[in-house]
């Protein structure tokens, strides 16, 4: 009798698991969102291009998740915030800094370390609630933040 109860319990458990995973096929409209090109600007006070030395950002990789850090990119451009996420693999190391100096924005900074290629840095400063962003580019060895519209980077 005890085993019968257990068997019934197992069957009920299986049914509940399968049922909970069952697909919701109810009719619903597919969400399609038009971009909001009137979002406020977060970097209106900053230039289109900001040259910088990426070595000034390397302390990010030594900062653990949950710890705050302040980085002087240039004398007029400081990035302060909390490290919220990191990732590493054999080709890259990435860190995400939630900015307190620009509320709503995150800096994503990545060091690419290919086996037969020189070290390269990429990254972005984005806020999905704002209309502008920055992307890290390089030209003749000079790294710089280049201002971009958010929909030039992120899209649905």
């Amino acid at each position: 009798m005890k085993n019968l109860k257990l068997a019934a319990f197992c069957l009920c458990l299986t049914f509940c698991c399968v049922y909970s995973l069952a697909q919701n096929v109810q009719k619903r409209s597919v969400p399609v969102n038009e971009p909001d090109y009137s979002k406020p600007k977060l970097f209106a006070d900053l230039p289109e291009r900001i040259n910088f030395d990426p070595t000034h950002l390397l302390d990010l990789f030594n900062t653990p998740v949950g710890q705050s850090i302040s980085l002087e990119v240039t004398s007029a451009f400081t990035l302060s915030g909390l490290v919220v996420s990191k990732a590493n693999d054999q080709n890259s190391a990435s860190v995400v800094l939630r900015l307190t100096s620009r509320p709503g924005a995150r800096l994503i900074f990545t060091k690419l370390t290919g086996a037969n290629t020189p070290i390269k840095y990429i990254g972005r400063i984005i806020s999905l609630t704002h209309g502008d962003s920055y992307e890290i580019n390089s030209e003749n060895g000079q790294y710089y933040f280049k201002k971009k519209g958010i929909y030039e980077l992120v899209t649905e």
Partner: protein, 349 residues
């Protein structure tokens, strides 16, 4: 030898548990598929959940994405639909994570098909434009629950978001004064004869294709999707043609029971595939062109291919290319297939 009742009961219980666990495990398995395993670039369709860290999506820490909630039958159809969209190109659409990890870091993208969307909001999916080449494992997302777990919807969103990672923007519509009507070109037509660009919005259209039309950058900023996908930075080209384009080198078809079957892939919208045969005596010859059927039937918005041999949707807006333009090849003495502009279609003769 008699089995002690306690042992027997324990064995029965263990067997029952194994069956229960087995059924749940089988349900969650993702079938492994590769559309073009010989090439390096990879679009990885990730259906079984993924934890995202250290990317531009991680606004507040790791994102724990649940599995897609799709069974293996639906996953198979979604894979087939997406693989067909990318069939003209040297890119491997796969459901195998090992293919993703063995691909060059700057020639791969992971499409996370997941029920988990609350971290972002209500959308079919979201991407970073050009992340295919970034080399930092930034994925894009397709939200299966918000798409109603429908194979057509999920497949459209996967091809669309993967397209963004390859550098594509939206195909948009503008009025005659160049004022934006919609960031998404929603196409034309109804039912079997409906069409939309993959980089527009084609959830309710039967056929979707790559397109050459005004992009979200402006009404005069035309985007040729094929050119963007095959741009040098992506390391993707058109795949080799399957059949000769000259009649002289066309493969000779032999009749069995008064018929033969030949098939090919239309690689480019200028492709011509030649076949030749000899009629043994004066007979009539009937040619049946059978486009490749991707989905489980071609009813309404779930179908995709059969109408390509039958209809031609009207041109849309200021688009340069007719998306589904039919053009008959030279069939005198040889059998030819239908051609579909900007769209890959298998044709059997």
């Amino acid at each position: 030898m008699p089995i002690h009742p306690v042992v027997k009961n324990q064995l029965q219980l263990t067997l029952l548990l194994v069956v229960c666990l087995g059924s749940l495990t089988l349900r969650s398995q993702v079938p492994i598929y590769n559309s073009y395993p010989a090439v390096a670039p990879v679009i990885f369709l990730d259906f079984d959940g993924h934890t995202v860290s250290g990317t531009g999506w991680n606004f507040d820490g790791p994102i724990y994405c649940g599995a897609s909630g799709l069974d293996s039958t639906k996953i198979t159809e979604i894979f087939n639909r997406v693989a067909e969209d990318y069939r003209p190109f040297t890119v491997n659409v796969t459901t195998d994570s090992t293919r993703y990890w063995s691909a060059p870091a700057n020639q791969r993208t992971r499409v996370v098909v997941t029920v988990t969307s609350d971290w972002y909001g209500s959308a079919g999916g979201v991407s970073f434009i050009g992340s295919f080449t970034w080399g930092d494992n930034t994925p894009c997302f397709v939200f299966s629950e918000l798409l109603g777990y429908k194979t057509k919807n999920v497949a459209e969103a996967v091809s669309h978001e993967a397209g963004h990672t390859l550098g594509l923007r939206h195909q948009s519509t503008y009025d005659t004064n160049c004022v934006l009507i919609s960031d998404y070109n929603t196409g034309v037509g109804t039912g079997e004869l409906s069409w939309a660009p993959i980089m527009g919005e084609g959830y309710s259209r039967n056929l979707t294709t790559w397109y050459n039309g005004p992009s979200s950058l402006g009404c005069t900023e035309f985007q040729n999707d094929l050119d963007v996908i095959t741009s040098a930075i992506n390391g993707i080209t058109y795949r080799l043609d399957y059949q000769p384009t000259s009649f002289g080198s066309a493969p000779v078809q032999t009749f069995t029971n008064n018929q033969f079957t030949a098939s090919s892939i239309i690689v480019r919208n200028t492709d011509e595939d030649m076949f030749k045969f000899t009629l043994p005596s004066l007979h009539s010859f009937q040619l049946s062109a059978i486009p490749f059927n991707v989905g489980a039937g071609n009813s309404g918005a779930n179908g995709r291919s059969t109408q390509t041999a039958e209809g031609q949707p009207a041109r849309q807006g200021a688009g340069q290319n007719q998306p589904v333009q039919k053009r008959r090849g030279r069939c005198a003495g040889s059998a030819c297939g239908e051609k579909v502009g900007g769209r890959i279609t298998r044709v059997s003769v």
